[in-house]
């Protein structure tokens, strides 16, 4: 018989509500809460052997510790598949399910499945890497959501042919593959159908959805006169950080950004600053971090009076592999700080 393990938060793990969200990770033999339904849905071929429970706050604020503890629990345990949730619309729970599934998948190379509502931010954070089933908004959907996860889990375990995301019921992972239509419909039919609908203003469905581009209009140019009075800030996705990377910004698929005080510096020098970006050869940037955050040039402009000054912090994250959703979130957070500080001119450098 194949074996499965389920991850739950403190609420569904029957520890308690928000007041117990700091509950440290624990593992129990057997079935807790939704694990019973999951075990039932998995039938005779798969058994849920353990339930892991962790408080949402614990996972959110001490993520590395939480994940390492749970990976430790799993070390040496036999399991063929790992489930988390369903997390419904609960944001922190969704993020926790995503983080633990990803860590388990990476370390133990077993398939993982979770379930979230489409409004759960965890969907955008993890959909490219995980099977996240389209779940209900609240625990009222528990039975359906668990059933969907279980059925797909059985398919994975039996290595059955997997259908496209929409048919299986999980959020598409951005992986596009060719399939033969069944029953077959030749391209000419599909073209004529789409053409007639488009011409007559009826709804139609493209076979290649173009990702929505969220373009922001470029701001009006500043005059030299205006610029000479303004402090200029630098924001970069080139991964320049103080040596040691104090904020532990990821080298790829970043979800964090940092800000670093440069008010007393004239120049970013080798040995004090470096890049942690994994998407390009770092040699040039490590030899002279100014090639990405051009503080030396800005100081020169400041002396010449071309700019009013350099804002005291520069902001940094890593652009490689970073999802558009994460990039947009970080961009908004950084912009909010800059606006708050009254900064009106920013140089954004990429690599």
């Amino acid at each position: 018989m194949k074996k499965a393990i389920l991850y739950l938060n403190q609420f569904f793990g029957q520890i308690g509500g928000e007041e117990l969200a700091d509950h440290a990770p624990e593992i129990r033999e057997g079935l807790v809460g939704p694990a019973m339904e999951l075990n039932k849905q998995l039938g005779d071929e798969v058994e849920v052997t353990h339930t892991i429970i962790c408080g949402d706050n614990f996972m959110g604020s001490r993520q590395e510790e939480a994940i390492n503890t749970i990976l430790g629990f799993l070390e040496g345990k036999e399991f063929d598949i790992f489930f988390a949730g369903p997390a419904f619309r609960a944001g922190r729970y969704g993020s926790a399910c995503g983080n633990i599934c990803k860590a388990v998948q990476d370390k133990f190379k077993v398939p993982t499945i979770t379930s979230m509502n489409d409004e759960n931010p965890g969907v955008e954070m993890f959909r490219k890497e995980l099977f996240i089933f389209k779940g209900g908004a609240s625990a009222a959907a528990m039975r359906n959501d668990v059933k969907a996860m279980a059925q797909f889990g059985l398919k994975l375990i039996k290595r059955e042919e997997l259908l496209p995301a929409e048919e299986e019921g999980y959020f598409g992972r951005g992986i596009r593959k060719q399939v033969w239509l069944n029953p077959p419909v030749v391209a000419t039919e599909r073209v004529i159908d789409m053409l007639l609908k488009k011409v007559h203003g009826q709804p139609f469905e493209t076979e290649l959805p173009i990702p929505k581009q969220d373009l922001v209009p470029i701001a009006k140019a500043l005059t030299a006169e205006e610029l000479s009075k303004l402090e200029v800030a630098v924001v970069t996705s080139g991964g320049i950080v103080p040596v040691g990377n104090p904020d532990r910004i990821q080298s790829a698929s970043a979800t964090k950004w940092g800000k670093y005080d440069i008010s007393k510096l004239e120049d970013l020098v080798k040995g004090e600053f470096m890049t942690i970006h994994a998407g390009f050869d770092p040699m040039a940037a490590n030899n002279d971090p100014d090639v990405i955050v051009p503080l030396d040039a800005l100081r020169a402009y400041e002396k010449e009076g071309k700019i009013g000054g350099v804002y005291k912090y520069f902001y940094s994250t890593v652009g490689t592999g970073t999802t558009q959703a994460e990039a947009a979130r970080m961009g908004k957070e950084i912009a909010a700080e800059l606006v708050e500080a009254g900064v009106k001119a920013v140089i954004l450098t990429s690599t």
Binding site: E166, R173, R176, V179, V186, L208
Partner: protein
């Protein structure tokens, strides 16, 4: 312009004393056929093999497919290519249906060549596995390109066309079993009822990426790289005005057979007068320089607008760089107020995670997609190989490789193969046959 295509449905093909067609049986005098092939002294070795659906045969490197036909009243099948220029698309031609002349290199393949399995799991990839094929397997003395990845394949492709003409002549004087009539009155001389229907142009983007002559698709013998978009009667395409080139990764390629039978054009004919007013074909191209792309898109949009098109279908023969032409053309048409449908394949990588087209635009909101060029395909050994199996690995076929640190070579010791869809002969069938699509997983 009125084209009558007289069809003869080939039930079987055999070798015999005389090249003739009788009651569905096509008989070929092999020696006579080979002497037509060898009219070109560059052909050094040649043989003809008949293969049928279900045969345990793997063909590689396949260079071209042509439908055997005969132009009634004389004249070349491919005006400006196999003979003098004449007006194609107006008159009568006889066609041997259900069969094709396939041209296979006896040894050497190239980037643009492909593979066909006549049976087994691999058969589903190619349209040509459903046809009875007269396979010309030959070698040439074109030593300048023997070891080149890009081959013009001139001697072989032209030999294939001569062979198709020779075989087609077998039905020159016979009564066709069925006649397809393709007739479109001039754009301004159509019935009121038809003129009231949404008018549609078919925009074709045949392959023309090579600056050097000899590799690209030809339009009446003229290299498509050297033309600006032009208005054509659809009958011209169906009647030999266009021939396939020798450049594009094979799954994206349109063979000469594909042009002769262009399903999307035939489908528009079916709708003409019922749901649409089919204005005709705008023949564009796929040149590489940005200015050439912009010029082509501008010409297409202007022509569509001047013709009064309400809608357009844009089909591209290729992927990668040509995606820029494809999207630019759709955007230009949409900006001109022409509601446009795109017809293409995609390149999402072996893992399926790459951006599907090199450029994207929200205005391209109606696309029919026919497959992923980089889908990985693994097939067992095949009893008989016609051509040379090693060509897939050795000669730089777009979907083959001689070694890969993880996957190993494309051709394994036991004769099984691992390849990308890229090297399946004309398999994405963007001309309209494709029953493949793309789905998100």
């Amino acid at each position: 312009m009125k084209l009558e295509l007289g069809n003869f449905y080939v039930k079987d093909i055999q070798f015999g004393e005389k090249t003739q067609y009788n009651n569905g049986i096509l008989t070929i005098n092999k020696n006579a056929a080979l002497s037509v092939v060898k009219e070109d002294e560059h052909i050094t070795e040649a043989d003809i093999v008949i293969v049928k659906p279900g045969d345990k045969v793997r063909l590689v490197p396949v260079k071209e497919a042509i439908e055997p036909r005969h132009r009634i009243g004389g004249g070349p099948l491919f005006p400006g290519v196999t003979g003098d220029l004449l007006q194609a698309g107006d008159g009568k031609s006889h066609a041997l249906k259900g069969c094709s002349v396939l041209v296979v290199g006896k040894h050497w393949g190239g980037f643009q060549d492909g593979l066909i399995d006549m049976s087994g799991e691999g058969a589903k990839y190619s349209y040509y596995s459903q046809l009875k094929n007269i396979v010309l397997v030959a070698d040439t003395d074109e030593n300048f390109e023997k070891r080149e990845q890009q081959k013009k394949n001139h001697a072989l492709r032209w030999a294939g066309m001569r062979l198709a003409e020779y075989i087609g002549a077998a039905v020159a004087d016979l009564q066709p079993e069925e006649v397809e009539v393709y007739e479109l009155p001039p754009v301004t001389k159509r019935s009121t009822e038809t003129s009231k229907l949404p008018s549609v142009v078919m925009v074709l983007q045949p392959q023309s990426q090579m600056e050097e002559l000899g590799y690209n698709d030809l339009c009446y013998g003229w290299d498509c790289n050297r033309m600006v978009p032009t208005f054509m009667h659809p009958n011209e395409v169906l009647d030999g005005a266009m021939i396939s080139g020798s450049f594009m990764p094979c799954s994206s390629k349109w063979s000469t057979y594909d042009f002769q039978n262009f399903p999307m054009i035939k489908r528009l004919y079916q709708e003409h007068g019922k749901t649409v007013n089919f204005l005709g074909v705008i023949m564009s191209n796929l040149n590489v320089a940005l200015e050439q792309k912009q010029r082509a898109a501008q010409f297409v949009a202007q022509m569509a607008k001047s013709l009064g098109a309400d809608a357009a279908i844009v089909a591209e023969e290729g992927y990668g760089n040509p995606d820029a032409d494809f999207i630019a053309c759709i955007v230009a048409l949409e900006d001109a107020g022409v509601k446009t449908i795109g017809l293409t394949n995609e390149c999402t990588g072996r893992d399926g995670a790459s951006q599907p087209l090199v450029t994207l635009d929200a205005k391209a909101d109606a696309i029919v997609s026919c497959g992923n060029v980089s889908d990985l395909i693994i097939l067992p050994p095949m009893e008989t190989v016609i051509g040379e199996l090693q060509a897939l690995a050795r000669d730089g076929l777009s979907g083959g490789w001689d070694n890969d640190t993880i996957l190993g070579p494309s051709v394994r010791e036991d004769g099984s193969i691992i390849m990308e869809n890229n090297a399946m002969f004309c398999s994405d069938q963007v001309v309209g046959w494709s029953t493949k699509t793309m789905k998100e997983f």
